[in-house]
Every structure is written in C-alpha cells, then in structure tokens.
Subunit: 359 residues, 2 copies
C-alpha cells in the first residue's frame, strides 16, 4: 500500500520497528493537521471544521488507516470489548444467547471476546483473568457459582466501574451482580407441578451427566421437592455420559416396564427427544403410559411427533437482555454516575404439546 519512509536520519537509538501500518501521525501529516484533529474527527466528527474534515477524510482513505485499538484503549483507559464466559459454545442453549448478545452489541460498536470454560471453575478463573487484562467494557459470566478467585476478580472489576453480569441464573437474595436469567429451582418445580396437574402420580427426573452443570441439578432438586410436597412418588436419575439423545434413549431402555403411568422431566430437550424416540420404538403410549417433559424448547421439540412438551428457556432473549443491560450501564455511566443493579427475571414458559396431557 504505502511505504513508511526511508529517511535515514530518522533512525535514532531506541527506535522501534513499526509494522508498516499507517498511523494517525501519517494521516495527520498528509492532511496537514496534527494527530489530535484527526483523532477528534474520528470520535466527534462535529467538532472539526467541514473543510478540514474533508482533507482528513481523503488522507484517511489514501493511507488506508486502521486505528490501533491497543493504543487507543491504553490512552483512554477504555475499551470496546465485552468479555463473555460461557460453559460451551457447542451447546445450543448458549449459542443462541451469544447470538443475541452479538446482535445487540455489534451495532453499538462493541466487540465480543468469547471464552468457553468447559463447565470448569478453574478454567473460568483463568479465562477471566486473561480477559480482564484487556480492560473490557463489560464482563458477562454464566451462572452465579464461581471459584473464590473468580469472585474476587469479578468484584474488583465491578469496583473499577466495569458492569458485571451473571446470566442464565437468578437468585435475588444472594445476588452480588446483575443477574439476567431465571431461577432453576423454581423452573424444576414448575415442571413437576405441570406433570402433577396432568394427573401423573409416578414422577422421575433425568438429570444431566455434566457434573458441574449445577443449573440442571437445581432444576432436578426443585422437581423432586415439588413432587414430594404433593406426596407423590418421585426419583431422580443421572443420564449416562456422552451424546444427550443417545443418553435419553439409553435411560428408557434401562427402565422397568412401569405398572402405572410414568411422567419424566428432563434436564434438557435433547435427553427428552432421545427418550421419546425410544418410547416410539418400544411402542409405548405417549402420553398415556409415559409422559415426557423437556427443558429448553429447542427447535426439534416443536417438530417431533405431535410435539414434545417442554419448559421454554428464553435463550435468545437472555442474550438480548444482557446486551441491553450493558449498553444501558455504559450509557448511564456517561450521563449520570448512577448504576442500576436491578435484577431482570426472564421466566421460562411452559409449552404444552403432545407428550404431556391432561387425561
């Protein structure tokens, strides 16, 4: 594109090699102004005289200038990065949340820095530490359970004025940060209550095999609690490791033929789909003999043989809300120095389809 310059006398001791990219100084020189004027044009276009602006714009395109964000952030102490920590990208639940986040943040010029923690607290802490080194404009973590170290990092980030959001969970009593999500214990209760309301008297919950997925476990506990309170027989079982649909199938294969109608709640729709498919293969009467209630409302749930009943989690909405909350916090900080810590609660919705029915 452009050769920097070759004036020998410019090379002095202590000089560093530049990577050949054009800088603000290059643009300024070419436009006959100082770097400050160019910098201003880039950030507050109205504060520059139209004629000067025009000259600078030409120089900008002529040099093919790309702002160096490291330098900008270092100087301003701000960055347009949002750090997002999720257990797994490959999980459809979180994928849509990220999509929602991206949709909200990108138009505002904020960039996404993503780190999967693999459901491990230790990795979360490491990732968090690394990301905080970039002085992000905001931090989003998944869930409310963190290692002591992570907690400390999050606290000091918040104290430094960085919005911190815990998403996919909600427990207002102990909330230390903004929470955008819902209560999983209550979600589990709601699942059990629906099955009870349908009239089933033998309940079961198939929990996720991911040991660290405490949100799934909490749903299971809520499920069991609600069933016990109703005086109904209930048990909980953990899915086998591996692909969830296969695990759902396997669970049903291992089940004894029940003498009376059985209703199963699942940690997620994939497990439920597996079980449903196996039930069909077995020729079990769904929902008369066997009721199935998933969690998540993945696309497949609405399509499968009459529809899988499920508790719909607002996976996309959570992302959107996180984004909105971040934009809000950042704006508020600029205008009034007031920070809102209002917890947002996004309740899951029961989708009653074919696999659970009043009868």
């Amino acid at each position: 594109m452009e050769n920097p310059q070759s004036d020998i006398f410019l090379i002095a001791p202590g000089v560093r090699r530049s990577h050949g990219k054009s800088t603000l100084a290059d643009v300024a020189a070419q436009a006959g102004v100082t770097t400050m004027t160019v910098s201003r044009l880039l950030r507050e276009p109205n504060s520059v005289k139209p004629e000067t602006a025009e000259r600078i714009r030409q120089a900008l395109t002529a040099t093919g200038y790309t702002p160096n964000k490291q330098a900008g952030s270092l100087a301003s102490g701000r960055s347009a990065l949002v750090a997002v920590l999720i257990p797994s990208v490959a999980n459809s639940i979180f994928a849509e949340t990220i999509q929602g986040l991206a949709e909200t943040l990108q138009p505002a010029g904020l960039e996404l820095m993503l780190a999967p923690s693999g459901y491990s607290h230790e990795r979360e802490e490491n990732q968090l530490r690394a990301m905080l080194g970039w002085a992000p404009a905001a931090v989003v973590v998944t869930g409310r359970q963190h290692s002591a170290g992570s907690l400390q990092l999050l606290r000091s980030a918040r104290e430094a004025g960085t919005p911190v959001i815990e998403m996919w969970d909600n427990e207002p009593q102990t909330a230390e940060f903004t929470q955008i999500g819902f209560n999983h214990h209550q979600a589990g209760q709601a699942m059990a209550r629906h099955l009870l309301h349908c009239g089933y008297t033998d309940l079961m919950f198939l929990d996720s095999s991911v040991v660290q997925d405490y949100r799934a476990h909490e749903r299971g506990l809520g499920f069991v609690q609600a069933a016990e309170q109703a005086g109904v027989e209930v048990r909980i079982q953990t899915a086998q490791l591996g692909e969830p649909m296969a695990a759902g199938r396997a669970m049903l294969q291992g089940l004894l033929q029940p003498s009376r109608p059985l209703a199963i709640g699942f940690a997620n729709d994939h497990l439920a789909v597996g079980a449903l498919l196996q039930a069909c293969d077995f020729g079990l009467a769904v929902p008369q003999q066997l009721a199935l209630l998933g969690f998540g409302d993945f696309p497949i749930a609405g399509q499968l043989m009459g529809g899988l009943s499920t508790l719909a989690a607002p996976r996309h909405l959570i992302g959107l809300e996180c984004g909105r909350s971040i934009l809000n916090s950042l704006n508020i900080k600029i205008r009034s120095s007031e920070t809102s810590l209002e917890p947002v609660c996004l309740e899951p919705k029961l989708m009653i389809r074919h696999t659970t029915k009043l009868f």
Copy 2:
C-alpha cells in the same frame, strides 16, 4: 461506586487518572527491582535469579497484579488474540467449529475474538476492519467469498505476517489463503452419486433459504450436475424462510405425490429431519418411496427412526485443524504427544443409515 482520588498533592499537570489497578511499576517497587526484571520474570522465568524471582512472586500476589494486555501488545507489536469471523454462532455447524478452535488455542494462551457476520459481506468487512485494529495474531474467516474491501484487508494482514485462514471451504486452484475445509461442489456431487448408486432415478435438492450461504448453493449445483451427467431427472428447490425443520416439513407438504420413488438431497440435516418427520406423518414409505439424504450429521440424524442418511461434515475437526494451523504458523509448540503434522482428511463422510438404501 468509587471516587477516583482526592490526594491533592498527587495531581500534577498532565497527570492522567489511573484506574486503581496495580501495574508492573507497583510490583517492581514492592519487590525492590525495576519493571524490566518483573517483565522478564513474567515472560522468561529462567532469566531471573531464583531469589529475586521469589521476592517478585510475592509482590505479584500481594498486589494482585493483572497484566495490561493493551500496553503489552502496544509495546511488543504482538497480541495473543485470534480473530474469528463466522456467519452465525447459533448455527450448530459453526458452534462446534468454534469449540474446536477454542480447545486448541486456549491451552496456548491465545484468546478468541468472535464476530458473527450474519452471512453478510458488508458486515464481514466491518467486523474485519474492527478486529484488525486489535492487531490479532491470526485471522480466521469463513469461506472464500469476500467483498473487495475484506479481501484487501486480509491481504494486507497476511503481508504484515498475520496468518489468515479461510475455513469451511476448499478450492485449491484459486486459493489465496490457507484453506481448511472441503469442496462443497464435490460434496454435492457425492450426495447425488450416492442416491444414483442406490438406484433412484428422480432426484431433487432442497437448498438453504439463506441467500448468501453460497456453500449450500454450491452443494446444490454439484448435486444437480452429477445427476444430469448420469442422465437422471433432477430439480432444485429453495426452502422457505424461517426455522429449517419447519421448512423441511413445508417442502414435503407442497410436493405432489410422486409416481415413482423420489430421492431428495438437503442443504442440511435440519431441513432433512423436518421432511422426514413429515414423511412419517404422511405415511410415506422411507426409503422405498422417498429417500432422504441430509448434510452435516447433526446429533439428531443418528437418532431419528432408523437414522437419517447424511454426509457428515467434520465440523469439530475443522476447528481443531484451524487451531493447529495457527499454532504452527506462529511457531507455538504444542505439548500434545502427537507432533505429527500429517495432513488430516477433512472430506465429508457418507453416513448411510435408514433413509437411503440400496433396494
């Protein structure tokens, strides 16, 4: 949250507010060394005397030091960021690729910067421009079709020594950058050939509704071409907008009852699953009357009523390979036992299950 500072005598002309975080200088002062020694310890621990190292380590934890990466990158001209551009995070295809990338890059200390382009060339260019401002250590884009501006950005990045990878595609003849993927035209051909080999003489391809998903379209073209070469009747149809499974169902609903067996290839497994479910509802004989061949090998494919035949795309492997290629370019050694740089086969594999059969 926190009042900047109030020590009057610390305020000197030209002074900037520091965000209260401890810096290298703080650590150095506390350990009684200069910043350089601390900096060295952090990067090449062996070049520091053990006793000094110990003192510094204590100061490090005492101050709760977190390196400022902006400053580090600015000074060194390097960064540990990998910029990744994908059409959509919510698409299961790319989600697993990202997961693979993360798995490979994280242990090497590289961080992921993610931007969804929404299948738009314009957004891709904007995102690319923004990300390049962070001087990433490597750039990964999806596919080989880019706007002229993007192409220019990618070229200059590569010229500046930044590895550039195009993933999910492969066309060696015109390849300008490292490509990690497979040829979609050939994939489409392979799909048609399998159906022809099974004996079907009436073929159809259901293309993706996403206009900019040229990879899907290329598979469609390959499919049609292979069928025509075999002198077999073939047509191509575009799925309706919206949820893919619903679109797959809708397609089948709109189809006239065929007089002879029909074989359909799909742009992806979700479309195929929708069609398969609808076929069951219609009571069509699968695969005798209707053959279905998906693309992707999503988890559901293996579970659904005897299994959906599909062309398995190495979605996770592509991510892993991209990561490996980046580490390799950057001369980062992996501690993994296999040091083999042998070429890995990224060709999609035919999974013959129930929905296509020799008969």
